[in-house]
Every structure is written in C-alpha cells, then in structure tokens.
C-alpha cells in the first residue's frame, strides 16, 4: 500500500493496483489459472479446493464430464449425481441438504417453488441473462411472436413474484427460479422404412391412425403420455381442449375413455417406461410410431436402422430444465454455487449437450465452442459438411445428413405445448392407471 500511495498516480489506478496486489497474494496460494483465462471472476480463497458441490439431475443433464470441466475452470469440485425424477423431487423435499445444485425439470419447478428448498436467484446475480434466448427472458420467440401458454411454459415456471421465493409469477420479474440450461422440442419417432417414407407421417393424429394398429407405442408416464395423446386426439378432431397443459376432469375422462377404446382395439403394441425400452421397441420393428426422446432416435440410428424424429404440422412438445442453488447454501459454498451457475452457460457445457441434440439458452457462447460445421448442423439445420460426432467422439451422422426438423427456430419456434404437471394430476394418475390396466 505504501508504494501505491507514494506512486502519485490517479485514484482509479491506485484502486486497481492495490486490488491486483491483493489478488496476486491470495492467488499465489491456490493453483487456479484457467478461471481467469476464460474471464470469470473467481473466488480467491485458500479453501476453495476443499469445496465440493453436489449437482443432482437427470442422466441427460448431470453428466460427469461437465463437472470435470467445471473443476478445471473453477477450481472446486462438482459431484454429478444422475437420478430419476421421482428420486430427485423426493430428495429435494425430504433431504434438501443432500443436494447443492438442483437440476430442476421445468414441470418440477411448480412443485418445488414456495417450499423453501430452492434459493431464488436475482437476475443481477446471473451474468448471462441478457444473452439468454427470449423464450426464457420475455416469453417471446426471436421473431416477436409470444410463446405458447399451454403447459408449464418458461413464463409459468421461471420467475418468483419476489425475493422470498414463496410464489411463482406468471411473467418476467427480477427473481429467477432456475437459470435455464437446456431445452428441446420433442415429437414422435417413426421408422420411415416401415411406414412407407419420411413424408408419410405429417400430423400427430397419425399416432392413433388405425393404419398403425398394433404398431404404436406411448411413454408410460402420465404427464407426458397424456400430452402426446392429447396432441393426437386434438389433431384428429376427436377432442377440443381448452388447455391441453391443464385439463379439466371432464377432459381427462374423455381422453382416457378414447384411450381405453384404442387400447381395447389393440392399437398400442406397448407402453415403455425407460429409454432403452423405447430404443428396442423401435429398433426391433415392434413399433413404427411412438413417443420418443431425441437421443433415443439417435440411438436407433446408430444401429444402422433409420429412425426419424418427425416434424409434425401441429408443432412440438417443448420442455426445458435449469439449475437452482439450494437454500441451505451459505458463505463460500454459496459463492461457489453462483460461480458454477454463471460458468454453466458460458459455452463448454452448451457445446457438449449440443452434440447430444439439446439446445443451450445462451447461443452465442456455444458457437465459440463448436466447430463451424457442428454449429451449422446442430443449430442452423444445414447439411453436415463433415461427419458429425457425439460428445464422446463416436460417429453420429454421416456427412450430408440434416438434423430432423431443421434449425433451432424451425424446431423450437414451433413448440405448441410445454411439458406439464396439471392441477388435476392426482386424478390424471388414477385414470392413467385405469387405462394401463384396462
């Protein structure tokens, strides 16, 4: 300090200089370099290397490699735990301290908000909010059209009314429930070779078309399965819903009745309950049209069997997940958690999940971490200029392939309904059980 004051420089220079000195001294003790290189303010503390944060989420999001990279960039450890949604909710509520970073599914946010287990995030604490795609920040698509409101949209799940985190808001506020980290648009998976071509399926109603009797499947998870069916029934003109994302009891009754009729006619070959089952049903040809997740489509294709995540005229079923720090975090651990949240969408993670077919909410950071060819394929919907590999270096698509559904906004821009949890979910489960056992 003595040197600084006697240096006779301007006051701003002084501050900067003394700051630099201070950090240099602290940094000498810890071996973290890359945090500064990537431009992230790093917490300069001696004991940072002793910090381990537990990140709990679905297997598609809580990926070990991402935690390892965070450790490299930030200097504290991230332990990734992949669990099923029920376990995650359960632990969040009954053992909140077993989680530090909660990878919250958008529909689960409705359950978790107001329970005091998640720490609300101030917009000012999250540096990438301004760069986040507008579906999360303003509830609009980039072309200015408002996003659909059926189901749990980013507007319904994304904000608290105030800093207490007691109540969800219905539109943008200064208090975020989660920072969005990953989103996608889901549709039906088909076997083009067994339905007569990629152009043969154009509408959700094909899912219940008698042509595919005995060759259709649904996911055996009421909140999503009912949605796929509702899209089909509405497209076929069987039912007109007020809000598919939040059905009335009468609408649930009508839907299950039609479902039971279909089941009794032998329309459905199976109801799958995990990823592998959905892959095997499709790959073995037991099923030619079904509810599917995007990586399952890729998994079928990687066996050399054509499978197509078909764009449908009624639009996609959208969903998203995000991160929230748990409310029990304090002091250094909380600082680290916020660092981690700010690191998460800074590009590396976004590029990793892009290669699994998921989108990042902060697009410009991702572009820096993808090759131009990868960017064109995954985000722009252009034909692959080179072979496309997954994050682990395995071949995914051959040169010339085009992403199913096209570019980011051709897909995400046509989301018609969001994944949901209904007010009548208790009743829905009951009726769904009835349908499955019918």
């Amino acid at each position: 300090m003595a040197e600084a004051t006697s240096g006779g420089r301007g006051s701003s220079g002084l501050t900067r200089r003394s700051l630099l000195q201070g950090t240099a001294a602290a940094a000498a003790g810890v071996a973290i370099g890359s945090g500064a290189v990537t431009g992230f303010p790093t917490i300069w503390a001696q004991n940072i290397k002793d910090v381990t944060l537990t990140h709990v989420g679905g297997s598609y999001a809580a990926i070990k490699e991402i935690g390892d990279q965070a450790y490299k960039d930030l200097g504290f450890k991230i332990e990734m735990q992949a669990v099923d949604p029920g376990t995650q909710l359960n632990r969040s509520l009954t053992q909140p301290k077993s989680i530090d970073i909660n990878n919250v599914d958008s529909a689960a946010a409705v359950f978790l908000a107001g329970k005091g287990v998640l720490r609300p995030i101030k917009v000012s604490e999250y540096k990438l909010w301004d760069k986040t795609v507008p579906i999360f920040t303003t509830g609009k698509f980039p072309d200015g059209k408002p996003i659909p409101t059926q189901g749990i949209s980013p507007m319904k799940a994304g904000f608290y009314t105030d800093g207490s985190g007691k109540k969800l808001a219905t539109g943008p506020t200064e208090f975020l429930t989660i920072i969005p980290t990953l989103y996608n648009a889901d549709t039906l998976g088909i076997r083009p070779d067994l339905v007569g071509g990629r152009d043969k399926i154009t509408s959700w109603k094909d899912l219940i078309d008698p042509k595919y009797k005995g060759k259709a499947a649904l996911v055996d998870y009421a909140p999503v399965g009912i949605m796929d069916v509702a899209m089909a029934l509405e497209a076929a003109g069987e039912i007109k819903y007020v809000d598919k994302g939040n059905m009335t009891k009468a609408e649930i009754d009508k839907t299950t009745k039609l479902l039971i009729d279909l089941k009794k006619q032998g329309h459905f070959r199976a109801f799958w309950s995990n990823f592998d089952q959905s892959v095997n049903l499709m790959a073995s040809g037991e099923v030619v049209i079904q509810s599917m997740w995007s990586p399952a489509v890729t998994a079928v294709r990687s066996r050399g069997i054509d499978c197509y995540f078909v764009p449908l005229k009624e639009g996609y079923r959208g969903w998203f997940v995000g991160l929230a720090p748990m409310a029990h975090l304090t002091g250094l651990r909380l600082d680290c958690a916020m660092e981690y949240l700010n690191w998460f969408n800074s590009g590396w993670q976004g590029a990793f999940i892009a290669k699994q077919g998921y989108y990042s909410p902060v697009i410009e950071t991702v572009q820096k971490f993808l090759t131009p060819e990868e960017w064109d394929y995954w985000y722009e919907g252009k034909p692959a200029a080179v072979d496309i590999k997954d994050p682990y270096g395995n071949l995914m698509e051959k040169k010339g392939a085009i992403r199913d559904g096209g570019s980011l906004w051709q897909r995400e821009g046509h989301v018609a309904v969001w994944n949901t949890v209904m007010d009548e979910d208790k009743y829905l489960t009951k009726r769904w059980n009835e349908f499955v056992s019918a």
Binding site: F111, K115, Y221, E286, S437
Partner: protein, 286 residues
C-alpha cells in the same frame, strides 16, 4: 456358566426378532400411519383421513387389478406346481446316484446365477415380432405371419413368471420328497400298488409341506410383482403393485401406502389360508 433354557430360547429367537421388528414391523407401522395421511402435490399432510381407503375401495380399477394379479398368480401357480413337482419327483425318485442328483439339482439353479432382469429381458428378442421364435415358425412354414401374441401379452408375462419362479417350487418340494422314507414306497410296491397310486397316496400327501411352502413363495412373488408385468406386457397390463409404483413415482405416498396395507392384508389372508390347508409346522416336525 450355565445358561438357563429360557435365556437360551430368547437368545435363539432374539436376532430374528430384532431384524423383523426393525426392518419389517417399524416400516410397516410407518406405512400404516402414512396411509391415513392427506397429501397435496408434494407435501404429505399428517392428519387422519379415510379418503385413501375410500378411493381405493370405490375405484373399479382396484378390483380389476386384483383380479388380474390373482389370475396371473393362479395360472403361474398351477404351471410351476406341475413342473416343479415333476422335476422334484424325477430328481428324488428316478435319479439313483447321489452325485448325479446333486449335479442335476445344481443345474436347475444355474439360471439363477444371472439376475432376474437379464433372464426376463432375454425373452424379448426371442418372442418378438421379428424374434427368433417367430422366424423359426415362419421358416418351418408353420405360420405365414409373425404371431403377435407371443410378446407384450399376458402369455409373455406367464412365460417369464414360470421361468423365474419354478425353482421356488422345485426346492421345497425336493426337500419334502427327499425326506420320504423309501421303505414306505417299497412296501407299497410289495403290496401291489400301482405307480400312480404310490404317487397319489404316498408321495403327494408327504410332499404337502413342500408344496405349501412353494405355493407361498410363488403366489406372494407374483402378487407383489410389478416389473415383470410391466416389461413383458409392454405396459399393457397392470398389477396391484404397478399402480402403487405409479403413485410413488408421482410422490402420491398416502394412497400408495393405503394400497400397500391392503395388499399386505390380502397376502396375509392368502398365506393363512394355505397354512390352514397344510399345517407346515406339523409336517416339518415329523
């Protein structure tokens, strides 16, 4: 130091009693308590309501699920009993060499060296539409089109159950038969009894305890299953426990607890019924 007989009995009973109380009794009480709670989305509200039971008893699905589970239990019971009895009979009375007997018995248990899940899942590529069995039938010109009922059907569920549970029938029946005094059978032969009469009049009654134990194993496992039914029926059939597991997945614990309590009561009644027909304790004591 001499241990009094009373203390010795307590010491013998103690470990099992502690395990039963800690890992069965207490959790069961918790489940019982939870079955009277109310709930709302994510929270369980500790109160005392009968709604969960009322919903369960007024819902036609409950009866349908019990009928479906009982149907599977009966079919699987009959098949495993016939197969299990035959296998045990063969091992005990036809195979003369003790070494071969033990060898064959071990052979029966070989499939159990892999997990239940693997043994069950291996049926899927075998029975599927484009599976090995359908290919075989079509290549042999027995059928012209793949048989669809083979997989994702009640048939597939029964096949998997029989495959999984027959050994549970073989082992207790084998044990019971092995304790039959062979002199009895020789005496019957000398007295001119036919093979069937020996089977019916001597072997069967003396194997009753084994049959009862095997029945308990098989019936309770089928009634308590949800995984086999879910996978092999392709989610087309439900069981009592699959409905319960759906509820747990959606964190609706109180109704799941009520459903579990009723299932335990039903199973206890069934086991009591079996034990009433066959006094296992008496049979084992002789």
């Amino acid at each position: 130091m001499k241990i009094s007989p009373a203390l010795a009995s307590w010491l013998q009973v103690g470990p099992l009693a502690v395990i039963l109380v800690l890992f069965f009794g207490l959790p069961m009480l918790v489940v019982l308590a939870a079955s009277f709670f109310d709930f709302d989305h994510m929270t369980i509200i500790p109160t005392f309501i009968l709604d969960n039971y009322q919903d369960l008893f007024t819902d036609p699905t409950t009866l349908r699920l019990y009928v479906s589970s009982l149907k599977f239990a009966v079919i699987v019971w009959v098949i495993t009993l016939v197969v299990g009895f035959a296998v045990a009979y063969f091992l005990v009375f036809h195979v003369q060499s003790l070494l071969i007997k033990i060898g064959l018995f071990l052979l029966c248990s070989v499939p159990f060296w892999t997990s239940n899940i693997i043994r069950m899942i291996s049926w899927i590529p075998f029975l599927g539409r484009n599976g090995i069995f359908n290919q075989m039938l079509m290549d042999a010109h027995i059928t012209s089109r793949p048989l669809e009922f083979l997989l994702f059907s009640d048939f597939a569920v029964v096949v998997a159950y029989v495959h999984l549970f027959t050994l549970f029938m073989v082992v207790p029946i084998f044990n019971a038969m092995a304790r039959i005094d062979t002199r009895l059978i020789e005496a019957a032969k000398d007295a001119g009894a036919s093979r069937f009469a020996i089977l019916w009049e001597i072997v069967l009654p003396l194997s009753k305890s084994g049959i009862a134990l095997g029945t308990i194993f098989v019936v309770t496992q089928v009634m308590g299953d949800f995984f086999v039914v879910k996978v092999m029926s392709g989610g087309q059939s439900g069981s009592v426990v699959s409905a319960l597991s759906n509820q747990i997945q959606e964190l609706q614990y109180p109704p799941a607890a009520a459903s579990a309590v009723i299932l335990v009561i039903v199973l206890m009644l069934m086991v009591a019924g079996i034990l009433r027909v066959v006094d296992v304790r008496k049979e084992l004591a002789t």
